[in-house]
């Protein structure tokens, strides 16, 4: 069956096919759809699943990544989602939507959302109608049915009973880490499905916090990724993988992950707290510079309260050279952090030196924030 094109909306940027990089078509040889249009699945026997395969084609001019593909509406179900897939120019990908009318007559309504990293979300309306006698397993209760007249054994619609889901992180989430997030169920899944894992935060936002898709460029997705569910399995899959890498960022916050189906059914939710910590110094480099030495300190302060610095120099035989040199960098940090979306910083501290610079072998750097002081030696 080929869906019929019902309406070309002039709203929401519709009817601009020539400008669309991503083109949606029904297979085989079906029409092309523009954002805002309605995709009609036609009239189908009640309770009978009908699959329609669609094709997404990247018409250029550049590569794109599908960051979201989602279907809403009780009568519509998305098959394996290609969300997260990168498409080169000219490449295409197919996916299937199953329409199963639960009652006769009235059109069933749903929506299809498609989003790429570089373009705004495209929405399509889904519609279809049911006909004939319903299979008892799919009969929806109707308000006009007289309760007294209804047979005592009238069945109610059978929605799948989803097992309890748990969202896990391995290794445990902490600032400045990349962990694998997985959704594991306590028993095998009853049917296929698809959904979305969303990350919300309270506390510090972070421009470097998000999911890393398992594609060749490691596409960064800040807050939401799609997953698929397969009957008989006990784990959600992200682009076929049983987990997805999540980069926590470098600011303290409480992160809440929520897994939901396309119809908003919540499968699992879990919060993790990234507590305030000492400054983490990732790298200390000591190098000769004009008239002295330059010390580079890369690290992060998830409290964004860094203030005092201390530099203790050692000679090439590891003897300390003089007392620690104290620097108050409060002003520099306070002018830097509000302008960036992370707690990561790169600090460069120049020192003028009189004498033989080559006698300097190493330096220990201490950075203080609201949680205390941390120290690291140069490499």
């Amino acid at each position: 069956m080929i869906p019929r094109l019902l309406l070309c909306s002039l709203l929401a940027g519709g009817c601009a096919l020539a400008q669309q990089q991503l083109v949606l078509k029904a297979l085989p040889a079906g029409p092309g759809y523009e954002p805002g249009q309605t995709i009609d699945f036609g009239t189908v026997a009640v309770g009978t699943p009908t699959n329609v395969t669609f094709q997404l084609v990247n018409n250029g001019p550049g590569r794109l990544v599908l960051t979201r593909l989602r279907v809403d509406g009780a009568a519509f179900q998305l098959g394996r989602t290609p969300a997260g897939l990168a498409l080169a120019v000219g490449q295409s990908v197919e996916f299937t939507i199953t329409f199963t009318p639960l009652t006769a007559g009235a059109a069933r309504l749903g929506e299809l959302w498609i989003q790429t990293a570089a373009q705004p979300q495209a929405e399509y309306d889904l519609t279809g109608a049911g006909e004939g006698q319903a299979d008892v397993a799919f009969v929806e209760p109707r308000s006009e049915d007289a309760p007294a007249a209804a047979p005592a054994a009238t069945p109610t619609p059978t929605a799948p009973v989803w097992p309890k889901g748990n969202i896990l992180a391995q290794p445990a989430l902490a600032s400045g880490e990349q962990s694998i997030i997985s959704i594991q169920f306590e028993s095998p899944l009853p049917v296929d499905g698809a959904g979305t894992l969303t990350m919300d935060h309270t506390g510090g936002g972070d421009t470097q916090r998000g999911f890393i898709l398992p594609d060749a460029n490691g596409t960064f997705v800040p807050s939401q990724v799609s997953f698929t569910l397969t009957a008989g399995e006990s784990v959600a899959r992200f682009m076929g993988h049983p987990g997805i890498v999540f980069q926590t960022g470098t600011t303290a916050a409480t992160l809440t992950f929520t897994a939901t189906l396309g119809d908003k059914t919540q499968l699992a939710s879990q919060s993790f707290t990234l507590g305030p910590t000492l400054v983490v110094i990732d790298l200390v480099l000591l190098e000769a510079a004009t008239s002295g030495v330059l010390v580079t300190v890369d690290g992060y302060d998830n409290t964004r309260t860094a203030s005092a610095l201390s530099f203790t120099f050692y000679d090439t035989t590891n003897h300390q050279i003089g007392p620690p040199i104290l620097v108050d960098a409060t002003a520099q940090f306070q002018s830097y952090f509000p302008n960036v979306g992370t707690g990561a910083f790169g600090l460069k501290q120049a020192f003028n030196v009189t004498g033989d610079v080559s006698t300097i072998g190493s330096v220990a750097v201490s950075v203080t924030n609201s949680q205390g002081s941390s120290v690291k030696m140069s490499q």
Partner: protein, 280 residues
């Protein structure tokens, strides 16, 4: 201690001790789409941003310079990937050696065997006669301004060659055992190469093996016990590129995001390099 205090004075006043805080840079990474992207962040929190240029065949970045090979040119870019100079180049891939700082580097074209020194202010200059290497260069490093080291593949096996960049003299050659591409050569002589589904990190002392070839200068004595280290990877490495002065970018055969690798003393740190998606 007193003598050193006299000889070495650090000025403490705010006027002389200059403090600058900025986003930490982590070099650049070439994507499979040919985009060369600057990378910022620290271990576990990296992010590659919008490409500075496209159609990149090969590239290497230091903290102050980037050498970028396109199909027909070699570009010299600064640490922020702004274009400084462009030179004609033969088609195909390229290997690079970039010291952590400085304004010059080295490029090797496998297609022609040319090994050139290149910088911001100077046209590419041949370091030596390509024939004198007697093999194909697999990786290069620049330990100092006057020398170049190269791992050269030859019929008897790979060799570590030390070359004077002043006159092109081959100063020493050392046979290497069990080393194959893809590999990276660090400025201290450490070799990082793929082995099965992992990486081998072989410091210079551990790399010494076998009999010296003719014209080979004796190696300096080993300092202590040096052993190579191995680290597992999620998949086989297909390339190892210089991402910055301290980072390597390792691309894997499974098509997943590249790994950033930093060697730190006796340990190594890795993390994925995510890419902020942008329209081409």
């Amino acid at each position: 201690m007193t003598r050193r205090l006299v000889a070495f004075s650090l000025y403490l006043t705010a006027a002389l001790a200059q403090t600058a805080v900025q986003a930490p840079g982590a070099g650049c990474v070439r994507g499979v789409d040919g985009g060369l992207r600057p990378v910022h962040g620290i271990t576990g929190a990296l992010l590659a941003s919008a490409p500075a240029t496209w159609s990149v065949v090969a590239a290497a970045c230091s903290d102050s310079l980037a050498l970028v090979k396109t199909s027909g040119s070699l570009e010299v870019r600064d640490g922020g990937l702004a274009l400084l100079a462009r030179w004609d180049a033969p088609a195909g891939a390229a290997l690079f050696a970039l010291p952590r700082g400085g304004q010059t580097g080295f490029v090797y074209y496998p297609a022609t065997g040319q090994l050139l020194q290149v910088g911001v202010q100077q046209a590419p200059r041949a370091v030596l006669d390509p024939q004198s290497l007697g093999g194909t260069v697999l990786a290069m490093a620049s330990p100092d301004a006057l020398h170049l080291m190269a791992v050269v593949a030859d019929t008897p096996g790979p060799r570590l060659v030390r070359i004077s960049t002043v006159d092109g003299t081959i100063e020493s050659q050392t046979p290497l055992e069990d080393v194959a591409a893809p590999l990276a050569l660090l400025s201290d002589g450490t070799i990082v190469f793929a082995d099965g589904s992992g990486l081998v990190i072989r410091p210079p002392g551990a790399a010494v093996a076998g009999m010296a070839l003719p014209k080979i200068r004796p190696m300096p004595p080993r300092r202590g016990i040096v052993t190579e280290r191995r680290m597992a990877l999620p998949a086989t490495a297909v390339s190892i590129d210089q991402m910055s002065g301290v980072w390597l970018a390792v691309r894997l055969a499974d098509g997943s995001a590249p790994l950033a690798l930093r060697l730190e003393g006796a340990s190594q740190r890795t993390c994925r390099i995510p890419t902020m998606e942008t329209a081409q």
